[in-house]
């Protein structure tokens, strides 16, 4: 469950966005899109691990890919690592997206916002392999931080929106969905909470899976850092790290 994985490549693919490929035996344990790894970036500092979603799993090559935004201390340090360096990886952790919710010939809508886009890549791959038709909607702040559009396009119709209109449609992912009247049997989404909330509200009667983010301590379910509330209860809760990060819409309070 824990391994010093070797960096195969670590390159910037959009402004401040990095694509990191890791090799190690842990890859053979990785199966489910939406699961994450908990990464210790520095030897002593920063102290805590960083949760990062699996973006691509390649069992043949024994490699997995992660896409992250270099922002704070940990991800900035990570972005400075070179091929051949190792990083301490714990995982895979959590419960990912249910691919079995759909059968061949059905339609999936995948909606990602910003740094919530990466886990949808492995998801799209697995769904397409299963014969599911996928449509992808990606939302970004601005043109400079758009990534993986072409890669997603190889799986199905792919729409991009930017908040400032510098690329694709101007507006939010929900605007794209409305504008193109996109329909689906199952919707899968990962991104900022307001986006997830908007999607849950937009499709209250449909099958919607949402991947949540929360600040974590342990990442394994022991510290109660990452809980979210369950509707209609004062004490019931779910842990994002071990019950999630993917929940069915309605399962937890957003």
């Amino acid at each position: 469950m824990k391994e010093n994985m070797t960096i195969i490549s670590n390159r910037q693919i959009a402004t401040g966005i990095y694509e990191l490929t890791l090799a190690g035996s842990l890859v053979q344990r990785m199966h489910t899109p939406g699961q994450f790894v908990h990464v210790k970036v520095g030897d002593r500092e920063p102290l805590l691990r960083r949760p990062l979603s699996l973006c691509d799993i390649n069992h043949e090559a024994g490699e997995c890919t992660i896409i992250y935004r270099a922002e704070g201390a940990g991800t900035t340090l990570l972005s400075q690592k070179l091929p051949g360096d190792t990083v301490d990886v714990l995982g895979p952790l959590g419960n990912g997206f249910s691919v079995s919710a759909l059968s061949s010939g059905q339609r999936a809508l995948l909606v990602g916002g910003g740094i919530g886009v990466p886990p949808l890549y492995e998801l799209a791959k697995q769904l397409v392999n299963k014969g599911v038709f996928v449509t992808i909607v990606l939302g970004f702040q601005t043109k400079d931080v758009v990534f993986y559009e072409e890669r997603f396009a190889s799986f199905g119709g792919t729409y991009v929106a930017t908040v400032d209109g510098s690329y694709g449609m101007k507006g939010f992912v929900t605007d794209v969905i409305q504008h193109h009247a996109l329909s689906f049997h199952v919707l899968y989404a990962c991104g900022p909470k307001p986006m997830l909330r908007a999607l849950a509200n937009e499709f209250p009667h449909q099958d919607v899976y949402l991947s949540l983010e929360e600040r974590m301590g342990c990442g394994v379910g022991a510290c109660f850092a990452c809980v979210c509330r369950v509707p209609h209860s004062e004490t019931a809760y779910k842990k994002v790290c071990s019950d999630g990060p993917v929940f069915r819409a309605g399962e937890v309070v957003l």
């Binding site: 600040r215 974590m216 022991a222 109660f224 990452c226 809980v227 004490t235």
Partner: protein, 312 residues
């Protein structure tokens, strides 16, 4: 002879390493990483009378060599712990130290009474850092008289020895220790977290939803060492030390300061295998230091090598 075995009130430990309360849940998660029976003991998450949800999120924030937490005593309540968690833990050969918390003396006493009867609960750990709602929210652990009163009341009803967990957020830690010693505590555990805060430079708001939180991790180690050094010389209670331990060397430093066993908190989050690793690293380190039995280390920084507590 098991050179790591330690005898403490209520506790026959095969080694002096145990996970600290709140950093290991009720053991289920880490049982996926290793056999919990390797542990000397286990301090389970603070248990209150009724289930509590705790604070809003974010509940943790990172600091230089440390972290802040404001979990807010989330736990499923004593009856659930008795019905579900403790029986599950009984499959492991590991004595449980039940950390208990409350808002009133009565709540502590009730939890103590019930939980101390569980067969695998060998000791209680009184988390006195909680606010006393009947005394205007002042923490039990910051006023010697209040801490003593609480200790006395719990001690009367507990079926097992009672360890009091000292808060470091006080002017005079020795006065606190003496007060609970006189009130009948069987041992001390120290230190709990220091109250701290971080503010997000982008939003100008505290990172924790609760505002302040408890600081743990390596950053607080020198404070823990100092307090254990002072307290161990002033009282005759055994001390389970904690605060920033990450390695076997750290464990020895705590023993030298005056601890007779140690607990590992935050380090579990960084390396889920940290407890078994430390247990594994201790014997060779003792060899290197020319020490037969770990108990010889207790208080060595001030007692010139006399053995204080010995577990043979």
């Amino acid at each position: 002879m098991n050179r790591l075995a330690v005898e403490l009130p209520g506790l026959s430990l095969k080694n002096p390493i145990m996970p600290a309360s709140g950093c290991f849940g009720f053991g289920r998660e880490y049982a996926k990483f290793y056999d919990l029976s390797v542990l000397g003991a286990m301090m389970i998450k603070a248990t209150t009378l009724d289930a509590r949800f705790g604070n809003p999120t974010p509940r943790v924030a990172e600091t230089p060599s440390g972290m802040l937490n404001a979990i807010g005593l989330q736990n499923p309540g004593v009856d659930y712990v008795l019905a579900e968690e403790l029986p599950w833990l009984a499959q492991y050969d590991v004595p449980i130290i039940a950390n208990i918390a409350g808002s009133t003396v009565e709540e502590y006493v009730e939890v103590a009474k019930r939980i101390s009867k569980a067969p695998n609960v060998h000791a209680l750990e009184l988390n006195i850092s909680c606010p006393n709602v009947k005394k205007g929210g002042i923490a039990f652990g910051t006023v010697p008289e209040i801490a003593a009163e609480l200790t006395r009341a719990v001690k009367e009803e507990s079926a097992v020895p009672v360890y009091v967990k000292l808060s470091p957020n006080v002017t005079n830690i020795v006065a606190m220790a003496k007060a609970v010693e006189q009130a009948g505590a069987d041992g001390l555990t120290m230190i709990n977290t220091l109250v701290g805060m971080r503010i997000d430079v982008k939003t100008a708001k505290p990172i924790l939803a609760n505002g302040t939180g408890g600081l743990s991790g390596p950053a607080i180690k020198p404070i823990a060492i100092r307090m254990i050094y002072e307290v161990s010389q002033a009282v005759s209670l055994p001390i389970i030390g904690m605060g920033g331990i990450q390695s076997a060397e750290d464990v020895i430093e705590f023993f030298y300061a005056g601890a007779s066993a140690v607990a590992i908190g935050t380090a579990n989050f960084i390396d889920p295998y940290v407890c078994p690793h430390i247990i594994h690293d201790l014997p060779p380190l003792l060899d290197e230091l020319g020490i037969q039995h770990i108990s010889e280390c207790t208080g060595r920084s001030w007692n010139n090598g006399q053995t204080v507590y010995c577990g043979t």
